[in-house]
Amino acid sequence: MTRTPFILRNRSVLPVLAVLTAFTIAVTLLSHAYGSGVIPTSMVKVLGKTLCLALAAVAMDLVWGYLGILSLGQMAFFAFGGYMIGQWLMYARTEDIVAASLAQNPIPPTPLELQQATANQIFGVVGSADLPTTWAFAHSLPLQLMLVVAAPGLLALVFGWLAFRSRVNGVYLSILTQAMTLALALWLFQNDSGFRGNNGLSGLQNLPGLEGVGQAKVSVWFLWASAAALGLCYVLAAWIVSGKFGSVIRAIRDDETRVRFLGYPVEGFKLLVFTLAAMITAIAGALYYPQAGIINPAELMPIASIYLAVWVAIGGRGRLYGAIIGAVVVSLLSSWFTGGRAPDIALPGYVIKWVDWWQVALGLSFVLVTLFAPKGIAGIFDLMPARKDKA
């Protein structure tokens, strides 16, 4: 039996990678730092962040479109990843500043004094001066990078194990994931939670040690990193959903009980995919927040995760490129419409301002997509070859 390489079986992989590469090169050549400067740095950041959101959407599609779990707490992992990298960014940058200021003293500081002064700078804003135990590894980039995937992965593992073990599924599971992200958000909102409460972590766009480089270059680097992560994870996701493994998880989506009767460890499969998706989401978050510059508990509120589900649904779930299309189209449209640049529509007697009406349009379009186009935007691609076949 000959096995076709999965790249060929997944006809979307090559086109997606090609588009991604072309896009990255184009943006680089048009950027301020490496090209003509047509695309301003703020736009480069927007595009880089959009790639991260697309990556989160791919992970969401893995969980929802392929495994059948509508997780309404996916952004908890996204933000968790952001917090983990943010800890290092904030600590290292503050430590540099503090070390420079302590160097003015005649007596060199002890490591403890340096740490205390750094903690005081970071936590002074929430009225504390001690470094919480949650920041024990903040001084080390490798450890925090490990935590970016390990901590959200562990959270997903524990939560998934508890939930799948007791056979919570369907709508119940959705509600439970929503409760998880809400609990995390509320916990982080407290000022004494050790993550600076509502202030969140800020100044993340400034990379420690690279102050002189300038945001124009840094933002392009992050765009590259985001594109690379998206490409790699897309290949990984495509590989997962193609072979036999993919068939099993799709079977679980369609009828869990039957798969269990066939002798597959359903819970194990679910747990593996759920945890993996959480890790991918966390990587997306860790790339997103340094571009956004600030992370704060509001990012974990349930609404953000629901939006993620909305993007996947509009793009077309059950196909990975659909998730990317959904995330890119809806988030860019959203920012265009709420940016105040979309022209108002003047009706006789009433002016429709998009700032006010965009949400209404989005909500309704979402209902319409669910009702009439369950395959989402990506469903259009189905129509094209279908016509060819007929012809």
Binding site: I107, T110, L112, V168, V171, L362, F366
Partner: protein, 637 residues
């Protein structure tokens, strides 16, 4: 009438030192008109006393001043204004009503004025004035006011007489000079849990920490043992305060001392660059200490010696030990009752929260039970109900009437909204619960933004009728606002109504049949589509009622539903679906637990909410189908 005034003036006169009596009202006002215009609580006391001493005219002026009816005209005249009437405050002549605004002494100054008026008001013929005087005394009585209160204990009004007697006891405990009388008063009131009595007892029992080599003078509450009753750090701090121990050196001080002794880049022979190591720092400091360059720092052995040489006491501020003993006994006897009553109060709060959650969740539970779909727009239906009530209130001024109209109207509006949503969206997504969840979420964000566009983002007022304002107070500990009682009654009413519909009507029978087995019900001639529509409308309608209830005690905003939707989901999930008793149990559990966690950590309401959700996540592990799980074939679906 004049007799009352005379007595009042006489009482006042008796209390005033002779020296301040001599001035006339004109003279007093003339030389302190600036202070009358811009008074300060700290300094206004003597002036008020001088005005009060001038007689009835002065008292009337003070009363008007406190009531914000005193006007200082541009011409410099002081007028007492009452509606359109005005009289000259100094002469009593009738005057034209002035245009100027009355003087507005702040509430601190008003307190001083009212305190000066107490003596005369206690015997005022108007019971309202006498009650006001008692309020003032209860708020801030002082020792001087005890004799006039005792002189005025008789009162034709039995309620006021009882209050006077009670106040007399309280003030005796606070300001009395005869220990026997104070102890008698304490014992007479022992076991009382009222706030005012506790407010009197607690200061008597206030203590301070004293470190001394021997038992100190004064009323000792008890001796503390270091380590057992008193943390060592606190004991050391007390010794440092007393001057019996040198404070320990902080790392900043050590560094400063080292920096002061740098010679040629070295401190006591150690290169400065090495001082980043804490051990080397200590060693260097010791070297400096040995050479006598820095004073010796406090050491552990010194601390130990000082601790051994001293004993620690709690000393009452109140010098009389008999009084403190009686107060302690009275406090102990009240403690158990107080604890029980606090528990009851907490229970009432929990009950109130539970009934709100019940109202908010019941609609969700019904629709989930019948159709297995979650309506994410449920929260917006709650909001819709609240905005309906607000709109009705802007149209109908009478609050009672508007509420009577608003309740059924809110039900009707949200019922209709629910039916429309069902016909247009949910019906087409039957058996696809996750899609329904997302589609209704789309409806939710659209409705929320629509509400913002129509009503604005600002909170809108929904005011309860006067008879629902205030609270039902059993004593100072147990009380609950009337509006919450009304909501509780409302929840009960809907529980009853719901049970009636389900158990006694054709619709209920059909709903139960569809819930248990839709296929079988359909083959028995029941139209599941119609039943689903009706239950969806009913559930939405109740959400509208919940919206009115929530709007009455909180604020009406477009995000009102959002605040309750997650809790409602939790209630349904914890309680178990398809069963009203399950919803009730879920609401009671969540409401009760929220309040208990909140009372354990009163400073942080957010933490309480976090723990609540964590609890639910864990609870689901053990009862994945809720407290009262659905039975039968439908449960497996």
């Amino acid at each position: 009438m004049p007799r009352f005034r005379l007595i009042a003036a006489l009482v006042v006169a008796l209390l005033m030192p002779l020296a301040v009596m001599a001035q006339s009202l004109d003279a007093v006002v003339a030389d302190s008109i600036d202070q009358i215009e811009k008074p300060s609580r700290r300094t206004v006391g003597p002036l008020v006393d001088r005005i009060a001493a001038t007689g009835p005219q002065g008292l009337a002026l003070l009363q008007a001043w406190a009531d914000r009816k005193l006007v200082l005209t541009d011409a410099g005249d002081l007028l007492i204004v009452d509606g359109d009437d005005a009289v000259d405050a100094l002469t009593g002549d009738r005057m034209a009503a002035p245009d100027d605004r009355p003087l507005r002494p702040n509430s601190g100054v008003r307190g001083v004025i009212e305190s000066a008026l107490v003596a005369s008001q206690l015997t005022d013929p108007d019971p309202a004035r006498r009650a006001m005087a008692l309020d003032t005394l209860a708020r801030s009585g002082n020792a001087d006011q005890l004799p006039p209160l005792r002189a005025a204990l008789d009162d034709p009004d039995p309620v006021l007489a009882a209050r006077k007697a009670r106040l007399e006891k309280l003030m005796t405990i606070q300001h009395g000079t005869d220990p026997a009388a104070r102890i008698a008063a304490i014992e007479a009131m022992a076991g009382d849990v009222a706030l005012d009595f506790r407010a009197v007892l607690n200061p008597l029992l206030a203590t301070r920490l004293v470190a001394d080599t021997d038992a100190p003078q004064g009323n000792v509450a008890r001796e503390l043992r270091v380590g057992d009753d008193l943390p060592r750090a606190d004991a050391l701090a007390a010794l440092v305060d007393k001057g019996a121990l040198q404070p320990f050196m902080t790392s900043d001080e050590q560094r400063a001392a080292l920096a002061a002794n740098i010679v040629d880049g070295r401190v006591a022979g150690t290169p400065v660059a090495d001082l980043g190591d804490p051990d080397i720092r200590d060693a260097t400091y010791d070297a400096l200490e040995a050479s006598g360059a820095v004073p010796p720092a406090a050491t552990e052995s010194e601390a130990r010696e000082a601790l051994e040489a001293h004993r620690f006491f709690q000393l009452y501020a109140e010098p009389d030990s008999d009084v403190t003993d009686a107060a302690r006994a009275a406090q102990v006897s009240a403690e158990v009752r107080l604890g029980a009553m606090k528990g009851v109060d907490l229970g009432l709060d929990a009950l109130s929260l539970a009934s709100i959650y019940f109202l908010a969740a019941i609609g969700l539970a019904v629709t989930f039970g019948v159709m297995r779909v979650i309506n994410m727009a449920h929260g917006e239906f709650i909001m819709l109900g609240a905005y309906t009530a607000y709109t009705v209130q802007t149209l109908i001024a009478d609050r009672t009437l508007s509420l009577v109209v608003a309740l059924p109207l809110a039900f009707a509006v949200t019922f209709a909204a629910g039916v429309i949503l069902y016909r247009l969206v949910i019906r087409h997504l039957a058996h696809r619960p996750l899609e329904t969840l997302l589609a209704t979420f789309g409806v939710s964000i659209a409705l929320q933004q629509l509400a913002k566009n129509i009503f604005g983002t600002q909170a809108r007022p929904l005011t309860a009728p006067a008879w629902l304002e205030g609270s039902i107070t059993i004593n100072d500990v147990i009380s609950i606002s009337s509006i919450r009682v009304a909501i509780f009654v409302l929840a009960l009413l809907f529980l009853g109504l719901f049970l009636f519909i389900m158990k006694r009507t054709r619709l209920g029978l059909e709903v139960r049949a569809v819930t248990q087995n839709p296929g079988m019900a359909a083959s028995m001639g029941i139209n599941p589509d119609r039943i689903a529509m009706m239950t969806f409308g009913l559930g939405s309608g109740i959400a509208g009622i919940a919206g009115v209830a929530i709007g009455l005690f909180a604020q009406v905003t477009s995000e009102l539903g959002q605040g309750y939707i997650v809790q409602s989901f939790m209630t349904v999930v914890v309680g178990g679906v398809g069963n009203i008793w399950g919803t009730l149990a879920g609401a009671a559990l969540i409401g009760g637990l929220s309040k208990i966690i909140e009372s354990l950590n009163p400073a942080n309401t957010l933490a309480a909410q976090t723990f609540m959700i964590l609890f639910i996540i864990i609870f689901i592990q053990f009862r994945p189908r809720g407290i009262i799980p659905q039975k039968g074939r439908a449960a497996e679906a």
